[in-house]
Amino acid sequence: MASEIETGSKYIPEMAQKEIEELGSSIKAASIKVIEDNIERMKKTWKNRAKSMEYFDEISNLFGQREKEIREQKEVGKKVIGYSCIFAPIELILAADAIPVRIGSGWYDTAKLGDRIMPVEICPVIRSTVGAKMVRLSPYLELSDAIIMPLTCDGRTKLSEILSDYKPIWYMNPPRVKDDPHTLTMWKEEIQVIKEKIEKLTGNKITRQKLRESIETMQKATKAFRRLQDLRKGSPVINGRDAMLVNQTSLWDDIERWTQKVNELCDELEKRVEQKEYSSHPDTPRVMLTGTPMLWPDSWKVPNLIEESNPQGVVVVDEQCSGDRVLYDPVGVDEWIMSDMLAAVGERYLMACTCPCFTSEHGNEDRINWIIDRIKEYKVDGVIYYVVRGCILYAMEYARIKRVLDKMNIPVYYLDTEYTREDVGQMKTRVEAFLEMLEARIDI
């Protein structure tokens, strides 16, 4: 219960309706321009862009067709369940016929609004999400009937508190040590609790049959995702930004339709492999991204720089919870009975996750191994370690990752930035120097 002397919201001060509307509509207009601009830039780099990309361009409009669709489904009684990070068990949401949407914000302009109540040292993903809430910018956040908030980093922990004034918040408590038997037990209970909350909100029982269907749906999505990823292992037939966009739209699209569209894209790209019709020159330095989630649309700043740089780079893979980590791991079920399925869902979200919130006496081993494996599979020439100011866990783990990459003789560059457009010039200098270095190494 809140303290006696408190009334109203805990963090966000009341704003005049007029200010909310004015700020909201101007930021929305700016955001639509950024979305269009990003797509134009992707088209410019990838001259003969695959026709199947058009679908993902449309879904990438955060204020477009998909918003309308979700609104309509809500009107006929469907529930929308938002989530802040990839620990949320999507299979359970789908099994209750609810709509999962991720709510983290990639809007630079709303980070400035967040500054009104939080110091600038705080991670901009958090400040921006708060700012988006202040002016009701995010359709998916606004449409959510409840929000799953896994308490992974400090920023998200406090964000959950701020959002609790507006939406029912369902906390999840992921353990920070993975392989202790008691932490796994605790996590399984968390999954059970979330299942019950979803059932209560939706009024739909998550039956054995329903859960099996949703697990199979997500397995198909993973299969399509991996098919696309396989196409990124050879000479580029899809540029990094385009693949990133495809993967990120899975966070708010209808997942069955998304799967079908990804398969159509793969059909088209597989033909291009045969015809050697590349999206970038086969000698282009191959870059891996790791670090802070890179959220659409404004955070496309970094991949834009990489793929428009002189010399050019191509992002072939990432290790980010906004990208290649989302669908990488399928839920592995032994027997299609309820207890086994729930355990499998729980394990998939905990054990496979490489978030730097984890630790052990060997450090965050799973992340290190994930990065090493992908570097080999995707023939990565260099790694860009992206961190936004205030993203402490990723910033701290850099030194460890760099030591490993140094031993592998893989160059890594620590690219720190903010939710701002003003540092593009400085970043360009650094990104170009890094790509120049990778190119010189390829020459040797």
Binding site: Q426, A433, E436, A440, I444
Partner: protein, 260 residues
């Protein structure tokens, strides 16, 4: 083989002309409001020095923060790439190149052929760059040229915070209020700056030999502080301010050769 390098720095434009990889002309100008014009003038001056005309130059490579403003360039190279090349040109044993310019500082790790292997940039704050010395000289009411020799007279070391120019300036003011002698304060300023640069070098790993270039390499006070902080000697070319332009000209020579 005649090649040229243009370094479009934030404060000055530098031009170097090489003949068979030997420096035959160097010229500089303040960038001012029209860096392109400054570069043109500087280039003309260098041509006159070398008694050459524009058509004698086989390849021009531009570098520097204002690289896009270069009036004519056959190609470009990053500042770090130019640094690495220049470092090993002046000192074949150099494996770490530190470049402290007016607005930024960087450290580059390179191999024996002058190829960049890794780099760190201090782009967040001017406290690790040349203009910091300028601002602090103003606070102490000392000529910029005199800051270095003044600091060498210090008997002990005071400390200031150099995470930010503004904080550093207020720290300097409080040292003035404590009536610290000017040499002590001047040394504190160089020490703080050297500390920032040294931590940048440590992030790359210490790979001797270390060479220092850019305008700040001319400052005896800064050089003394940096040597102390790194605990080793630092190699400095005769005219460190032209190092970036020379690096670009070396790259230009290589590219011209490849083209033929």
């Amino acid at each position: 083989m005649i090649s040229a390098g243009i370094d479009m720095g934030t404060q000055r434009v530098k031009v170097a002309i090489l003949k068979d990889n030997e420096i035959i002309a160097q010229s500089q100008q303040f960038s001012g409001f029209e860096p392109t014009k400054a570069a043109e003038q500087s280039f003309q001056e260098a041509l006159q020095q070398a008694n050459l005309s524009r058509t004698d130059i086989q390849h021009v490579t531009a570098t520097g923060a204002g690289v896009n403003m270069a009036p004519f360039a056959d190609s470009t190279i990053s500042m770090m790439g130019a640094d690495a090349r220049a470092g090993t040109y002046f000192f074949p044993s150099a494996r770490t190149v530190i470049d402290v310019g007016a607005e930024d500082a960087r450290a580059v790790k390179c191999d024996e052929k002058g190829r960049m292997l890794d780099f760190v940039v201090n782009a967040r704050c001017a406290a690790g760059a040349g203009t910091f010395i300028e601002a602090m000289a103003r606070a102490l009411e000392v000529e910029l040229e005199d800051m270095g020799s003044l600091s060498l007279k210090a008997e002990k070391a005071s400390t200031i915070n150099a995470s930010c120019v503004i904080f550093a300036e207020s720290d300097v003011v409080s040292l003035i209020h404590r009536e610290e002698p000017k040499p002590e304060i001047a040394r504190a300023i160089f020490d703080a700056m050297a500390e920032r640069i040294a931590s940048m070098v440590h992030r790359l790993g210490i790979n001797p030999d270390i060479t220092l270039m850019g305008g700040a390499a001319k400052d005896v006070g800064f050089v003394a502080s940096l040597k102390r902080r790194l605990g080793m000697d630092i190699l400095i070319p005769e005219e460190p301010i032209f190092a970036g332009a020379v690096g670009a000209a070396l790259i230009a020579a290589k590219r011209a050769g490849r083209r033929r």
